[in-house]
């Protein structure tokens, strides 16, 4: 078995001709098919190997792509009924770059419908299960990509991250999840959810592999006006840089155990204990880490502001799904009836709820109070973090307040744990900050993660710090065994 190894190891085996690209592809699709009945990570598993001629380290390396990247002549569903038969006519820039680099696409992975949702349970093809415990969810929206990497089907996969859609499932799956600075990787061809928050990012099993993949993906794209000018540096080359004296902060209101002294939430307490233990270990290798205070009202406003902005943008971004240009044609006497029918049948209830919210938020009489205020909150939070980044090189936080929930578990959406610990990662999307989640240990035999967020454009610095942390956290290259279908 090679596909559950690191890119460096697979590369060596390829270069030594121990294995061919075709064999790797076969290995990956066999494993994908083997795991599919239980974990359901894929919408499409490809069956034909295409010979590659890439000149990069990724040549002949198999990978998976979230099913919201446009892939010419390959079904791309957004995990929604309204696109269930949609075959794109063009390639997303990220996909094109990987193709040119020689990487081999194995399949398209399941997401929460149209990337909206954080559970991996709302796709039109059914729920995705957690490779570490099939009674638990893997999280979303990039559920299938997280599961495929966690199961060792592929060494890397692409996802998209609008609030935490890469970094949350990465922590629930015990893998590395990274979203770079907004504009570092082109969004052209990524089905838009909330354009001002959407990021293309990666899943890998170690930080160096993340750097390999991002080195290929990054760069200015004339098709995406929001892309940054090329920084012309190799993030892989920066990994070994010295980190002694790097200063990090965590938010006391969210992370101090004293804040939860009357809580009976054992899982939360254990997660926080792991977090502080790990911070101590990181201090030993030279990181300077301290807690800072941020106004709790501001922190509590992250989630509502995120929902407000993302629902509003999503309503508009998905207005192209009418069944007129493409997709299942609705029925009806008038053109409005036809579009109405297509959208009624094509979206699940959850999506319709978000669209109705978004539409309400954008209405003339509500815009000022809801949409524009949410934008102001976003700005206040980003300003606060940027102010802290004048002193600190990064923000370090527990990715989540606990392990992956069981299907059907109810959460109190107004609790501190939910409002802050489960949703702080939207800060990375608000400000377009580079942000990475790395596995940091196990609680109740399930993986948990630590999240590191850095200054805008300092993707290389964030990967460098994460790479050094990974050595200490001791969870590098872990693979979930997964249960085979019998």
């Amino acid at each position: 078995m090679y596909v559950d190894k690191s890119i460096d190891e697979i590369r060596t085996s390829l270069d030594n001709q121990e294995v061919t690209g075709k064999q790797l592809f076969k290995e990956a699709i066999d494993k994908a098919k083997e795991m599919q009945p239980i974990y359901n990570s894929f919408v499409t598993i490809l069956d034909e190997y295409q010979q590659t001629k890439g000149k990069t380290v990724l040549n002949e390396i198999p990978y998976a792509l979230k099913d919201n990247f446009s892939t010419k002549n390959i079904l791309t569903t957004g995990s929604s009924n309204i696109l269930k038969n949609y075959v794109p006519v063009y390639d997303a820039t990220a996909y094109r770059k990987l193709k040119e680099a020689g990487a081999v696409l194995v399949g398209k992975t399941v997401l929460d419908e149209l990337a909206m949702g954080g559970t991996g349970t709302t796709a039109h093809t059914g729920i995705v299960r957690n490779p570490w415990d099939k009674t638990r969810l893997i999280g979303g929206s990039s559920a299938g990509s997280a599961a495929a990497v966690a199961l060792g089907i592929v060494p890397f996969a692409l996802g998209s991250d609008t609030g935490d859609s890469i970094r949350k499932p990465a922590s629930f799956g015990g893998v590395v999840g990274f979203k770079p600075t907004y504009g570092r990787i082109s969004r052209y061809g990524l089905f838009a959810f909330a354009s001002s928050l959407d990021h293309v990012g990666t899943f890998t099993r170690n930080v160096k592999d993340t750097a390999y993949v991002v080195d290929v993906l990054k760069g200015q794209d004339e098709k995406d006006m929001t892309t940054l000018p090329d920084d012309s540096i190799s993030y892989v080359d920066m990994l070994e840089n010295e980190i002694k004296g790097k200063k990090l902060f965590y938010i006391k209101e969210a992370c101090d155990i004293e804040n939860y002294s009357d809580s009976s939430d054992e899982e939360l307490l254990e997660t926080l204990k792991n977090f502080h233990d790990k911070l101590d270990q990181l201090r030993k290798i030279g990181f300077e880490i301290e807690g800072v205070s941020i106004d709790k009202n501001l922190l509590n406003a992250i989630y509502p502001a995120y929902m407000t902005i993302s629902c509003a943008e999503a309503t508009s971004n998905n207005a192209n799904l009418t069944g007129i240009q493409f997709g299942p044609r609705g029925e009806g006497k008038s053109i409005n009836d036809i579009m109405f029918d297509a959208r009624t049948k094509g979206f699940s209830e959850l999506i319709k709820r978000r669209f109705i919210l978004g539409s309400y938020i954008l209405q003339k009489e509500n815009q000022e109070k809801l949409f524009l205020n949410a934008g102001r909150i976003r700005r206040m939070i980003v300003d606060k973090i940027n102010e802290l980044f004048q002193t600190y090189d990064g923000m370090i936080m527990p990715t989540s307040g606990g392990i992956a929930p069981k299907f059907g578990d109810k959460t109190d959406q107004l609790s501190d744990r939910y409002l802050i610990l489960e949703n702080h990662m939207a800060i990375g999307n608000f400000g377009g900050f580079p942000s990475i989640t790395i596995p940091s240990g196990f609680v109740n035999h399930m993986p948990i993660g630590i999240n590191l967020t850095g200054r805008v454009k300092e993707d290389g610095e964030v990967l460098n710090m994460a790479y050094k942390m990974e050595e200490i956290l001791g969870m590098k290259n872990i693979v979930a065994k997964g249960e085979k279908h019998v």
Binding site: N68, F69, S70, T76, G78, L83, Y86, P88, V89, Y90, A92, R187, Y188, G189, L190, F191, A192, A194, S195, S196, E222, K223, D224, M225, T226, A312, E313, T315, S316, N318, A319, N320, L321, T322, I324, Q325, F326, I335, N336, M339, S359, L362, Q363, K364, Q367, F371
Partner: protein, 474 residues
């Protein structure tokens, strides 16, 4: 009588190689769906990329209309569902348009008027729909074509003023070469708002909007119909409903489409995929330099500096190419009034007759000046000059050559004329007698005889003077 208040919203498609936000060609084609990119179809994952040329052209128009220009352009989304709008939203400018608070000068019946411009903004055109019995067809060729929408303040007070503004606006597009502005091809379309108010009222009356009127003449008819309709309602003590009406080109009437309560909430918000476009002062200066002298300025100049009548000046500036021809002729040393006269009386007639443009005619300004000079110098008569010009335009031949080859020249030589006069007097002794008896008008007959001998080539003025002198000497 009520005071009429009119505001216009004029959409004009800009010229460019590609569409406003995609790489598809911005080109009229009768073959449907031949100029379409993925972006125009609103396929999942597409992103808009702003067309710099369209921005440049819209800035040029904004400057030509004396607008304030923001330091950053920002684009917004206008959200609504319609099959001609594949993305489900139109990219337009709501909050920071290319130009605001400008004005355009017009002249109506000899009086100058400043038409105030609320704003002008850059957006994308929609697809075009063809409706048949129980189905409709969509042509995406037009979808995404850069469209500049210019909105006036409600400051126009008659159909005549509205048309004068539309013509002035069209001339700005044509003079700056930013659009062909052809309403017959849908490149220029107009929404018209009309309201009536009591002569001394302080507040505007209730406005009625008429959408998408596609010719200047229909704008005029729609306004006139609306004034009549609203006047009748008000005179009967009725109230005007705030609504959108459709102008029907079959019966020239307007019909209600939807009332204000059904007005669509477009849920405008900033387009997140287009970062603010910085407008540097350097860029603006450069664009300013590229704006040619416009129609209104040229009319002023022709009247005050060259002493032309408003009528002639207006004819000369109607097309930029004519104005340029005229000015070039002046640079060649032509007399403004004479040049204007030759252009308006002969050259424009020729152009209209053959439906060609000024650029297509063979006679250059230099040739015209040479011809006018020959007439002024008395080398040929002005009647001959006109014939030569017609011939030059028709046969594409240099006027000087025509004169030389036909042997056409005016006999201006004094000795030659003297000799001819005496010849005629020898032949007509009885005419001398009659002249002496006081029938002085016989002189015309004698001059005519000289002309006959010379086939009209003798200079009539010289002939007349010489003949008079000779007859009196006898």
């Amino acid at each position: 009588m009520y005071k009429v208040v009119i505001g216009l919203e004029v959409h004009c498609e800009l010229k460019s190689n590609s569409k406003n936000f995609s790489g598809a060609a911005n080109q009229y084609s009768s073959d449907p769906n031949t100029h379409v990119a993925t972006v125009d179809l609103g396929l999942p994952g597409i992103l808009p990329v702003i067309n710099e040329e369209a921005v440049r052209k819209s800035l040029m128009i904004a400057l030509a209309m004396n607008c304030e220009i923001p330091s950053y352009l920002i684009f917004d989304r206008k959200n609504y569902f319609y099959p001609d709008l594949p993305k489900g939203y139109q990219i337009t400018q709501m909050h920071h348009p290319v130009g605001t608070n400008g004005y355009v000068m017009i002249n109506v019946d000899g009086e100058d008027k400043k038409v105030l411009i609320h704003d002008t903004h850059l957006e994308e055109d929609t697809a075009s729909l063809d409706h048949f019995g129980n189905f409709s067809l969509i042509d995406y060729n037009r979808c995404g074509v850069p469209l500049l929408e210019t909105v006036t303040e409600p400051c126009l007070h008659s159909a005549k003023e509205a048309i004068a503004f539309l013509e002035a606006l069209r001339s700005i597009f044509l003079y700056t070469d930013t659009s062909d502005a052809r309403s017959d091809m849908g490149q220029m379309r107009c929404d018209v708002n009309v309201s009536l108010m009591e002569e001394n009222a302080k507040e505007l009356g209730t406005k009625v909007e008429m959408k998408n009127i596609n010719s200047f003449n229909n704008v005029k008819l729609a306004i006139e119909y609306e004034i009549k309709r609203q006047t009748e309602i008000l005179e009967q003590g009725g109230k005007i409903l705030q609504e959108t009406r459709r102008f029907d080109t079959e019966d020239m009437c307007t019909y209600s489409m939807r009332s204000k309560v059904d007005a669509i909430d477009y849920k405008y918000f900033i387009e997140p995929n287009i970062p603010p476009v910085k407008i540097t002062s350097k860029w603006l200066e450069q664009i300013k330099k590229e704006i040619p002298k416009l129609q209104y300025e040229r009319i002023q100049e022709y009247m005050t500096e060259y002493g032309l009548s408003r009528y002639d000046a207006t004819i000369l500036v109607k097309e930029k190419s004519t104005a340029e021809y005229f000015e070039k002729a002046l640079q060649e040393g032509g007399d403004p009034k004479l040049v204007a006269n030759w252009i308006t009386s002969i050259i424009l007639g020729h152009i209209n007759k053959y439906e060609i443009s000024m650029e297509e005619i063979f006679v250059t300004p230099k040739m015209l000046i040479d011809l006018i000079q020959m007439v002024s110098d008395g080398k040929i008569s002005s009647k001959q000059g006109k014939e030569v010009l017609y011939q030059a335009l028709q046969e594409e031949k240099e006027p000087i050559k025509i004169v030389e080859e036909s042997g056409m020249k005016q006999i201006g030589d004094d000795n030659e004329i003297l000799k001819l006069c005496n010849e005629v007097l020898e032949e007509q002794p009885q005419a001398i007698e009659q002249y002496k008896k006081g029938r002085t008008n016989i002189l015309d007959f004698l001059v005519g005889q000289v002309m006959k001998k010379t086939k009209g080539q003798a200079n009539p003025a010289t002939t007349r003077t010489t003949m008079k002198e000779e007859i009196e000497r006898r």
